[in-house]
C-alpha cells in the first residue's frame, strides 16, 4: 500500500475528501516503520490503530475520539516531520569527533614541521609536511565549504608564499628550510580551525554538499601533476580525499540512505569503493583518468538521486561563500 518513497498512498481505497489527512498520517507511519525514528512500540501501535481504523470502509469518515487523542499526543511527541535531518544531526556529531581527530593530526604535523625547520632538518620537515597534509586532506569534505576563509589561508592555490603550498615550494621546490614565518602562520590558522571545529554547526546538507563537491573534484584532470606536484604527493591528496569521503558518508549518511533508499545506498557504497580503488595506485601517472572521472561523476549522480529520500536537497557542487 505504501509507495517506496514513504509519502504516498495512491492506491488507497480512501475517499477523496478523507484521503489527504490519512495520507499524512501514513507517511509518518512509514518513516517510523523504516527505523528512521527510534520509535517505541506504543507509538507504532498507535499509528497502526489509526491506519486500521481509517482503512475500514465503514468507519472511513469517523475517527474515534480516543484515536484522535492518540494521534494528537503522538504528533506532539514526534520531534520533526522531516525525519532524515533529525537523525543525521546525531550522526554529524559522531563525524565531528573524526574531524577533530583529523584536523588535530594536521595541526600536530604542522607543529612538528616547525620543530624540524628549527632543527634545519629538511627531510624531517618534508615528512612532517606530508603528515600534516593527510589530516588536512581527509577533512576537505568539511573545510572548503564551511570555513572558506581559513581554507584560503591554509590551502591557497596557487600562491608562492603562504599556506601549505607556499611551504611546499620552499621545502620541495627550493630544498630549503627557511619557511618558519609561513609555518607559524599555518599553525595559527590550523589552531583557529581546530578551536572552531568543536562547536561549529554541521548541517547534514552542507556535509553532503561537501562530499559531492570533493567527489567531483577528485575526478578532475591531474595530468599537470595536480596541486602538490612539487612534493609529488598529489596522489596522496587524492587518496586522503577519497578516504575522507568514505568516512563522512559512512558515519553521517549510510544508515539513513540504507533505510530510505537501499538501492541507492548500495550503489553509493559501491561507487565510493570504486573511487577509493581508482586512486589506490602506485603513482599518479598510473591513474586511469577517464575511468576515475566517470566514477566520480557517477557517485555524485547517485548522491543527487538519493538525497531527497532522506529529506535533503540535491547536493550543490559549490558552496555559497557567506553561509
Amino acid at each position: 500500500m505504501l509507495d517506496e518513497g514513504g509519502c504516498g498512498v495512491m492506491e488507497d481505497p480512501l475517499s477523496a475528501h478523507s484521503g489527504k489527512r490519512v495520507l499524512k498520517v501514513m507517511a509518518m507511519s512509514n518513516s517510523l516503520g523504516r527505523g528512521t525514528f527510534n520509535v517505541t512500540p506504543l507509538l507504532r501501535w498507535t499509528f497502526d490503530c489509526v491506519i486500521r481504523h481509517t482503512q475500514s470502509a465503514r468507519r472511513r469518515f469517523i475517527l474515534h475520539p480516543a484515536l484522535l487523542c492518540l494521534v494528537a499526543v503522538t504528533a506532539a511527541w514526534v520531534p520533526d516531520a522531516n525525519a532524515g535531518p533529525s537523525v543525521l544531526d546525531g550522526a554529524t556529531e559522531a563525524y565531528r569527533r573524526h574531524l577533530i581527530e583529523d584536523l588535530g593530526r594536521a595541526l600536530t604535523g604542522a607543529k612538528l614541521l616547525r620543530d624540524r625547520l628549527e632543527a634545519h632538518d629538511l627531510d624531517g620537515a618534508k615528512r612532517a609536511w606530508i603528515e600534516s597534509r593527510i589530516g588536512w586532506e581527509r577533512s576537505e569534505v568539511f573545510t572548503s565549504g564551511f570555513v572558506p576563509d581559513l581554507d584560503r589561508e591554509i590551502d591557497a592555490w596557487p600562491n608562492a608564499r603562504h599556506g601549505f603550498h607556499g611551504i611546499e615550494a620552499t621545502l620541495f621546490g627550493a630544498n630549503r628550510t627557511d619557511a618558519r614565518e609561513e609555518t607559524d602562520a599555518l599553525i595559527a590558522h590550523l589552531a583557529d580551525l581546530y578551536a572552531q571545529i568543536h562547536d561549529i554547526p554541521l548541517p547534514p546538507q552542507r556535509l553532503l554538499n561537501g562530499i559531492a563537491r570533493l567527489a567531483f573534484e577528485i575526478g578532475g584532470s591531474k595530468a599537470d601533476g595536480g596541486e602538490s606536484r612539487l612534493s609529488g604527493t598529489s596522489l596522496n591528496d587524492m587518496q586522503s580525499n577519497a578516504d575522507g569521503i568514505a568516512l563522512a558518508y559512512q558515519i553521517v549518511f549510510s544508515e539513513a540512505f540504507e533505510a530510505d533508499a537501499p538501492d541507492l545506498a548500495e550503489a553509493a557504497r559501491a561507487a565510493i569503493l570504486r573511487l577509493q580503488a581508482a586512486v589506490r595506485v602506485v603513482a599518479l601517472r598510473n591513474i586511469e583518468s577517464e575511468k576515475l572521472r566517470a566514477d566520480s561523476e557517477a557517485l555524485v549522480a547517485i548522491l543527487r538521486r538519493a538525497a531527497p529520500a532522506i529529506g535533503l536537497d540535491q547536493p550543490a557542487l559549490e558552496e555559497a561563500a557567506a553561509q
Binding site: S144, P148, D149, D151, R152, D155, A156, W157, P158, N159, A160, H165, G166, A169, T170, G173, A174, N175, R176, F216, G219, G220, S221, A223, D224, G225, G226, R229, L230, G232, S234, L235, A283, L284, R285, S289, E290, R293, A294, E297, A298, V300, A301, R304, A316, L317, E318, E319, A320, A321
Partner: protein, 460 residues
Amino acid sequence: MNVRSILCTLALGLLLALPIRYSHSFPLSGDDTILPSGTELNEDALARPREVFHSEFFGGRKSYLVNLGDVAFNSPAVLGGAARQAAMSCATCHVNGVSNPKLFIPGMSTRPGNFDTTSLSFNPKAFNSLLDPIRIPSLRGARYLGPYGHDGRFASLRDFLRNVIVNEFAGAEPEPQILDALVAYIQDIDFLRNPRLGPGGMLAEAYASDAELRGEALFFKPFPRRPTLSCAACHVPTGAFVDHLQHDVGTGGLIKTPTLLNANFNGPYFHDGRYDSYDEVVAHFDGLFDLHLSASDQQDLVAYLTAVGDGERPYERDGVALRMKEISDFISVLEQAIPARDTAVVSLVVATVGAELRELAERFPDHRNAAVSGGQQERRAARMALKDLVLMCRQIELAVSAGRLDEAAGELRKITELTFIPVPALLKKAEPWSLFNAGVHDAHYGALGQMLQPADKSSR
C-alpha cells in the same frame, strides 16, 4: 638535383609568423607528470587560431559527421599510451585544427613547434631511435593539400589519420565512423580568407604594394641556372600554391610541397621547422639554386610571400562565447546518437564535453585562489552551472547505457536550453574575474610560475 624541387622548396619554407600576441605561457613542471619536465603545451594562451568551417562560411551548418569529428579530434580517448594518459588529443598539437608553434616537449622537440612522432615515449612500436622531429603543420585547407604527411607518404587522408592514431600515438584501432568523422571535420576546415589574392592566386593589384608586385614577378621568374624551374612551378598559384608532389630541397630527402596560403601563421618553416622567417627561407633557396638574388630582390620576395600568406583575423580571443559555441556543437552530436542508441558515440561525447566543461570551470578561480579578488558569487555561480552540466551529460550516458532513451533525450533538451542562453549569461557575468581576463590570467599564472619555477630550487 631536380630544379623543380628547388623551386618548390623555395616556397616551402616561406612562412613568416606574424607577431602573435600569446600571453604568458606556463610550462608543466613534470615532477609527477606523464610528460617530461619543461614541457610547454601552450594551453593557457589567450589567443587561439581562428577556425573557419567551409559549411558555415556560406551560411550553412556543420554536419553531424563534422561535429563528431571535432569531438574525436579533441578527445584523448581516441589516442593511447602516454598521450592519452597526459590528456593530449589531436587538438593539443593542432589547436582549433591549426598548429601550435609554441609546443615543446623535451626529448621530442628540438625547437618550439616541432615534434618527433616516432619517439619512444608515445609508441615504442614506432620508435626509430632517431630524434627526427617534424613541424606541426596547419590543417587549414587540408582537403586541397594531399598527399598527406610531411613527405606525402599517404595518398589518403583517412589512411594518414589512422596511422597517426594507431602507430604514432598508440591508440586503439578507430571505429570506421570515427575515422569518417575525423576526415569530415578536417576537410571542413577552410583557409582564412585572404582579400589580397584575386582569381588564380594572383595579387589583387588594388591592395598590392610595389615591392609585393616585384616579388610576384620574381616568384614566376625562371631560375637562371634551371630555367624550367621557378618558385611558382611548385607553388602553383592557381592550385592552393602546391603541386601535390615531393621534392628534394636540400633538407634531407623528398618533402611535400607545402601551401603558402595562410603561411604567415604556420611557422616555423620547412619540414622540421628549422627556419623562423621568410627571410631565412628565401636565403636558403637563393643559395641552393644559385639565384643570385639581391638584397632588394629578397625583400621583395618576402613582401610577396607575406601578402600571399596573409589571412583575415587569424586569431581570436579565447573566452566564454568561444568555449560555449564549441561545447554546444559537440553536444549537438547527441541529437542523433541518443535515438540511435549509439553508446560508443554517446560515451565519447560525454567524456569529451565533460572534460571541456571541467576545464572551463577551472577558468573561474575558486575561493582559494589568491590571484583574484571580487566576483566571488559570480565565479561560484559559473562553476556550479558548469559542474551541473557535467553531471547532466554523465546522466545521459548512464541513461543511454540502461536503455532509458527518453530520459536521456529529456536531459539533452535541458542541456540544450541551458547552453543556449542561461549558462553563457552566467559565465559572461563572471568573465571579468576569470582567467580569460588578461590581468587575472597573468596574476594566476605568474603566481603558479613563481611557485613552480625550477630555478627556485637553488635560489629564491
